[in-house]
């Protein structure tokens, strides 16, 4: 658990919760837990919060990785796609494929909360998603690659697509580390982690598509017509560089379409964790 994040916010929130609980407990049961009408639907929000160990992750802040290298990050963004929600009683809601692509950017808070409309009412306690872009979409024609996938749009596919080797970059992290020896081509000691590879069009090649399922445990996102639950997921950047494999920036300043990228994607697959859910109305 990462209880130290936004401690002040958390404690305020706890107070608020306690207060609301008292309020709620004074009400009749039927009002506290509206009945599920599967013919109705509501919106579910998923919030992606990048963290670093116990801290909130911020750009241009110095961190130390698992092998003791200092570094700062100035670019961090990744695709989340193909979201599936599952209820306590095993019903699945698959977000329509064409509406299921999101680009989460650390520098743009608006992208960190994604809203899924038309979710049938229910108590959802499992969420599945892909970090990256599935192979089917990766081989579709440009007309089927709109929104965040559009390679002709700044802030969308433009920064997240390898043109010379057709395919999306799933996860992109760039920054500077004093551990990286400056060279003529890289005087500032920059590192570039552009992870992609959907498995190849003709021959079997690098496949960094990572799909993960997170359980909300005893919690549930209570999708109702009149309420928008918000599922908070944290992505721990410390694990990206030191989860299953300890990554040395000095040793690997550039990780793009090469076999080592598999270790990085294994790492970031483990970086995503369910944190908490908000079910009350109007929560920010």
């Amino acid at each position: 658990m990462n209880t130290k994040i936004n401690l002040s916010k958390v404690s305020l929130f706890a107070l608020f919760m306690a207060f609301s609980l008292i309020l709620f407990s004074c009400k009749k049961d039927s009002e506290t837990e509206p009945e599920i009408d599967p013919n109705k639907s509501g919106t579910v929000e998923i919030k992606f919060d990048n963290i670093y160990g116990q801290d909130d992750f911020t750009l241009n802040t110095e961190y130390t990785n698992s092998v003791g290298e200092n570094f700062t990050v100035d670019m961090l963004q990744y695709y989340i796609s193909n979201i599936v929600l599952k209820t306590e009683d095993g019903r699945e809601y698959v977000v329509p494929q064409e509406e299921s692509y999101f680009l989460i950017k650390e520098h743009d808070a608006n992208t960190q909360k994604i809203q899924l409309p038309n979710v049938p009412e229910g108590n959802y306690n499992e969420v599945t998603f892909t970090i990256g872009v599935d192979s089917l979409r990766s081989t579709m024609l440009p007309e089927n690659r709109t929104g965040v996938l559009d390679i002709g749009v700044e802030g969308a596919g433009k920064e997240m697509y390898w043109r010379w080797n057709s395919g999306y970059i799933f996860f992109k992290m760039e920054g500077v580390s004093s551990a990286i020896e400056p060279t003529e081509n890289n005087p500032d000691g920059r590192f570039f982690y552009h992870i992609g590879g959907f498995g190849g069009y003709e021959s079997q090649t690098i496949n960094n598509i990572r799909t993960i399922t997170l359980s909300l445990g005893r919690d549930a996102a209570k999708a109702r017509e009149e309420a928008m639950p918000s599922i908070h997921i944290v992505a721990d950047m410390e694990k990206v560089l030191g989860g299953k494999t300890d990554v040395s920036l000095r040793e690997y300043p550039v990780v793009m379409f090469n076999p080592f990228s598999l270790s990085v994607s294994e790492n970031y697959m483990k970086a995503f964790e369910y944190h908490h859910v908000h079910n009350e109305h109007g929560h920010e």
Partner: protein, 350 residues
């Protein structure tokens, strides 16, 4: 040639008198040569129209696609050289920069399974962003190009008002990534070379004056014995990636390996088509051979063995060819020159 011009005019005429219940727009242009296999490109996904083709042609020849307006697609792909950059071993891009490879012809792309020497792009519609955004080719970005095109709205001449041209071609003034790429594909798909003397020979269309000579026929026979495994007729390539035994040139250019990261693909490059080979010199991915004689000399006694050398060449490390045979093969290869294609006004810049 006359036929093509005539039919083009006829089609334009048809379009201008179209009645409401037919849509002759969709019938424009693309003709399946009878001696070719069916195209790989799915034309139903991007039907070629007069307006789409004309827009694609304008885009192909405009410098707007490059950062400083100096480089168009046509700069490195000149029609008279079968849309290659004449005489350059490595193609030139913006700021007089050299690229890593020799530009490939734009011809019969509807039949191509992949693009570039390394096959990194698997669909024609995904091709254009590569040269546009390469620092040493056009040095631009796709969003900037689209923006520059959008800003031509209301231009004095309707011929340079791109939103208007997009509307004519696609029914909407909005310049989207997809429509921009589709228009460019429409022009490139029309670059069909299928009327060489060889084609006429194969299709029994030869007249007395363009019949293949005895030497050319001998060359064809030799070609079929010694070259056609990889340069499979009728497209004169099987589109596979092979290491043909060239001594390593630029060691950083590992060919297909750059795309697949598979050891077995190191130093493999796509088998190029030999159509119009006479005018696409110099040869090989880095343009190292100045003429066809040098190419055949390589196969006859220049092949270098390596881990990934093509199995066909591995056994003898050579293709047995004497001087006479080389001459005959070269004579044959020149019958693949398609004057109608190289001079087709429909495809030309001016």
């Amino acid at each position: 040639m006359k036929n093509l011009i005539l039919s083009t005019f006829f089609m334009i005429f048809l379009v201008s008198c179209q009645t409401e219940n037919i849509n002759p727009k969709e019938e424009f242009g693309f003709q399946q040569p009878s001696n070719f296999p069916p195209p790989v490109y799915d034309l139903s996904e991007n039907p070629i129209t007069v307006e789409g083709f004309e827009l694609g042609k304008k885009l192909f020849y405009t410098g707007l696609l490059s950062r400083d307006g100096t480089v168009s697609c046509g700069s490195c792909h000149q029609q008279t050289s079968s849309f290659t950059q004449h005489g350059h071993s490595l193609s030139h891009g913006i700021d007089d920069q050299l690229t890593m490879r020799n530009s490939q012809p734009i011809q019969n792309l509807a039949w191509s399974k992949s693009f570039f020497w390394d096959g990194g792009v698997f669909h024609l519609d995904l091709f254009a962003p590569v040269p546009i955004e390469a620092d040493n080719e056009m040095g631009e970005t796709l969003p900037n190009v689209l923006q520059k095109l959008r800003e031509t709205e209301g231009a004095k001449s309707p011929k340079t008002d791109y939103p208007l041209l997009f509307e004519k071609a696609f029914g909407t003034k909005e310049i989207t990534t997809a429509n921009f790429l589709k228009a460019l594909s429409q022009f490139q798909l029309m670059c069909i070379s299928s009327n060489s003397r060889y084609d006429k020979h194969i299709r029994n269309e030869s007249t007395d004056e363009n019949k293949l000579t005895a030497q050319e026929l001998k060359g064809l026979e030799l070609f079929n014995q010694k070259c056609a495994t990889c340069h499979t007729t009728e497209l004169f390539t099987d589109y596979s990636f092979r290491n043909n035994g060239l001594p390593i040139g630029n060691p950083n250019d590992e060919g297909r390996f750059l795309i697949t990261q598979l050891e077995e693909d190191k130093f493999k490059f796509k088998v190029p088509s030999l159509r119009n080979v006479e005018v696409t010199r110099p040869y090989m991915h880095d343009g190292r051979f100045r003429n066809l004689e040098a190419v055949l000399d390589h196969y006859a006694d220049g092949i270098v063995d390596s881990e990934t050398l093509d199995p066909i060449l591995k056994k003898n490390l050579k293709i047995e060819l004497n001087e006479d045979e080389k001459k005959n093969i070269i004579a044959f290869l020149k019958t693949l020159t398609d004057e109608e294609f190289l001079n087709n006004p429909l495809l030309s810049e001016f």
